[in-house]
Subunit: 112 residues, 2 copies
DNA sequence: TTTACATACATAGTATTCTTATGTATGTAA
DNA sequence: TTACATACATAAGAATACTATGTATGTAAA
């Protein structure tokens, strides 16, 4: 998933779900580019991590898909299901708690 | 490591190194209790995660050990080596960047 | 007194996650 | 025709943490 960064392990599902909560629908490659641009290239989301994660979220009923052909290339769009919309809220709260606890454990004041 | 919290994966080494940068020396069980108290019980560090991590950090030359018997029980104290002291600085900077990027990706403002 | 819990270490087997490598396929720029 | 970008996917392997188990001592409760 990253440039020598083990830290993101476990955060991928939350990242995907949150991006989809802001964008209605996105396709895989679009997600990789979005993550890259948001982090200014610091986090590179690999296909080997992304696609299995998307399939797993779909299998869990959190995502729904629709396939389109654009410019003669296949695109598989993902969108939050109703369950997915509810789950984003939980995942984001967990992420807040996680960051809070990590900052406590590492003596890091929030950077602002 | 956690109560239904996958997010901490990859952060354990940094947490250990940082605790040892504040405490000169600590033993394993003490570390588990410190983590528990700092996070108010939200993060429970399991032995199956802690001890292999300590052994790995020692093998990497970042930690040095000294064994003592206290109250008829064995204690294996860990302390940062010179390399370890240098590495904490790097790890903490990586953690800051990680938190920064994660907050960007999740639209989380720093909580203060 | 024996059961449970806390202290203190350790490891084997398993599950999960991510990386690396590879594969298919189209389009564009050098 | 080579390289790169777009777009999907999976298999093999590495890394990390969890569960379960084991050893051993001390204390409190039932």
């Amino acid at each position: 998933m990253a440039i020598s960064n083990e830290l993101f392990k476990g955060t991928l599902q939350t990242i995907i779900l949150n991006l989809l909560s802001e964008n209605d629908r996105m396709y895989g490659y679009e997600i990789t580019q979005k993550v890259k641009s948001i982090t200014q290239g610091e986090l590179l989301l690999k296909e080997g991590a992304l696609y299995p994660a998307l399939h797993k979220l779909e299998a869990a009923g959190l995502l729904e898909t629709s396939t389109e052909v654009v410019d003669n290339r296949l695109r598989k769009y993902y969108a939050l299901s109703q369950d997915g919309k509810a789950e984003v809220v939980n995942k984001l709260q967990e992420a807040r708690d996680f960051i809070q606890n990590l900052q406590l454990l590492l003596n890091l004041k929030p950077s602002y």
